[in-house]
């Protein structure tokens, strides 16, 4: 499937293992599916079902374990395994995170934050080049949800991402919910953040739910936790509206990873996102008609 045709796709959903048998059996009306390869590489049966589903549904591969931000280097053995799965699925998108998760042979099962400076930029550019070379396709880099920043950062996250795009030709996965989460946690304007991302580089959106907690040592403040365990907030959908107007329609994914509901609940979330897209397209059409 060419990237050109993907902008017309309705919202897709993340396919997690508890749902795969249902999806394989019922073939629900969902526009596309995203998988984490780490869930399938150690599961031959699920892979068998997935390869069959990939003949019917467009599939996106969203890596969580390549760890392009690791100072000690990416996990090349894991990258080779991901490549083997990609060869079988021929996904229309392959993406990962602006984060690190491995350290000296240990996998920390989380997406950990990075300082934004020249050293990190050089490292990530090298790693993205390597990933795109191994996978023989563009890699979409997702903006993270952050709880902390670094005094060593010398550029904004948007500047950092734009420079990665310029150096490597990678594309961006704009996680709209992450923009909202980080903007609250680190106190910046989420709309300005979207304005600063390079328009032509954004090739996908993510939407996921988050929880609100009292901030440690500051009960009067809140911290948002990116759990993917609840429905998408209306405030994130408002930001999605803005993102659609700025970047145009792009494949949009509903992420739900914890406290997984019925698959029908995920489809209902996709319907909510599609309604926002229809509203934006209608509005843009009217603006265009009005000159």
């Amino acid at each position: 499937m060419s990237l050109h045709s993907t902008s017309s796709l309705n919202a897709g959903v993340g396919l997690r293992l508890p749902h795969i048998l249902e999806v394989a059996t019922t073939r629900p009306a969902v526009s596309w599916l995203e998988i984490h390869p780490e869930n399938f590489l150690a599961n031959p049966h699920a892979t068998e079902l997935l390869v069959d589903l990939a003949r019917e549904y467009p599939v996106s591969v969203h890596t969580v374990g390549i760890s392009i931000g690791s100072a000690r280097g990416i996990d090349r053995a894991h990258l080779a395994r991901v490549r083997s799965l990609i060869d079988r699925l021929d996904p229309f998108l392959v993406s990962g995170h602006l984060a690190w998760s491995t350290h000296e042979g240990e996998y920390l099962n989380d997406l950990l934050p990075l300082p934004y400076d020249e050293e990190t930029l050089d490292l990530l550019a090298r790693h993205i080049d390597e990933v795109q070379g191994e996978l023989a396709r563009p890699y979409l880099v997702e903006n993270p949800s952050c709880y902390v920043g670094f005094g060593a950062s010398r550029m904004k996250e948007t500047e950092f991402l734009a420079e990665l795009v310029a150096r490597t030709g990678c594309r961006l996965l704009c996680d709209v919910s992450n923009v909202h989460v980080s903007s609250i946690n680190l106190d910046y304007d989420p709309y300005a953040y979207l304005d600063e991302l390079p328009v032509d580089a954004v090739g996908e959106f993510h939407l996921g739910g988050f929880l609100v907690e009292a901030d440690a040592d500051d009960a009067s403040a809140e911290v948002l936790i990116d759990t993917h365990s609840v429905p998408i907030s209306d405030i994130a959908l408002d930001l999605y509206d803005y993102a659609l107007a700025r970047f145009g329609p792009q494949p949009t994914l509903i992420e739900w990873d914890s406290d997984l509901p019925d698959f029908a609940a995920l489809l209902a979330e996709a319907t909510r996102a599609d309604a926002v897209k229809r509203r934006v397209l209608y509005r843009e059409k009217r603006y265009a008609a009005a000159g």
């Binding site: 048998l21 780490e38 869930n39 590489l41 150690a42 599961n43 031959p44 049966h45 699920a46 068998e48 969580v64 374990g65 390549i66 760890s67 690791s70 100072a71 000690r72 996990d75 894991h78 690190w100 998760s101 491995t102 350290h103 000296e104 042979g105 240990e106 996998y107 920390l108 099962n109 989380d110 950990l112 990075l114 300082p115 050293e119 990190t120 490292l123 952050c146 709880y147 902390v148 920043g149 670094f150 005094g151 060593a152 946690n185 680190l186 901030d215 440690a216 040592d217 500051d218 403040a221 911290v223 936790i225």
Partner: protein, 259 residues
């Protein structure tokens, strides 16, 4: 200003070991950024403990949920995953659990843990088309001892000193193990799974030994000898037919050719 590798080493110590020393010097965010880093520490311990609980549910029922979770949280700090595929994590957790002095029942914990690990593994296997006994028809009888059989991928052979298969059955029925199941009873177990399902069959010791040797890749002649070592009147011919009758053989490999 620390280099990125040093920064990541300090964050790793915070997330895995709970050692936050040195992190305040470089973190920002909120009034207490170090406390924010605890969100990652909490996620690390909770997500991996949850993965172990999903992998060993009968073991958790046997020793008690609280004891299990406490041990799991200790384990994940001492033994971080080596791979992003979390389904591959926790193979040695039963041994870690059994080593805790307060627990007791070391052999039972090890045996039940080993069985649960293999149940998780075989249930996600695929199955290949099984060969019939006629696959042997073209092989000269003199070459038979030299052949190797390739068995279904979703097979495991476990010897245990306790009736752990019955403990699993009770667990699946939502019941705790009764006292009699906690007494030593040697069993020889074949676990066969594929595509989300599994079955457990107790085998005679000699048959179990024969099949296990085949699964390990031994020549048919060697597997037959192992069976006869286990029981003098073991009949390798009948045992071989049983392997085909149970649909376990998927390929026959001669020394220089595959069939």
């Amino acid at each position: 200003m620390p280099r990125l590798a040093d920064t990541q080493a300090l964050i790793r110590a915070a997330v895995v070991d709970g050692d936050f020393a040195g992190t305040a010097a470089f973190l920002t965010g909120g009034r207490a950024p170090v406390a924010r880093l605890r969100i990652h520490e909490r996620h690390y311990a909770a997500s991996l403990s949850k993965a172990l609980l999903a992998r060993y549910p009968a073991l958790a029922r046997l020793i008690g949920q609280t004891s299990f979770v406490n041990a799991a949280q200790d384990y994940v700090r001492r033994h971080p995953p080596a791979s992003p595929c979390i389904a591959e994590y926790g193979l040695d957790f039963p041994r870690f659990l059994a080593s805790r002095r307060w627990l007791g029942r070391t052999a039972l914990v090890l045996a039940l843990g080993e069985l649960e690990w293999h149940l998780g593994r075989v249930a996600i296997a695929i199955s290949h088309a099984a060969l019939g006994r006629e696959a042997l028809a073209t092989i000269p009888s003199g070459e038979l001892p030299e052949i190797r059989l390739e068995l279904q991928p979703g097979l495991a052979y476990l010897g245990a000193a306790f009736p752990v298969d019955d403990i699993i059955r009770l667990h699946l029925a939502g019941k705790p193990p009764c006292g009699c199941l906690l007494e030593p009873t040697p069993i020889w177990l074949e676990v066969h799974g594929a595509r989300g399902e599994f079955r457990m069959v107790r085998l005679p010791a000699a048959t179990w030994t024969f099949r296990r040797e085949l699964q390990l890749g031994s020549r048919l002649g060697r597997a037959a000898e192992a069976g006869m070592d286990a029981k003098a009147d073991f009949d390798p011919g009948q045992a071989l037919l049983g392997v085909f009758a149970d649909g376990l053989a998927v390929a026959v490999h001669c020394s220089e050719r595959g069939i």
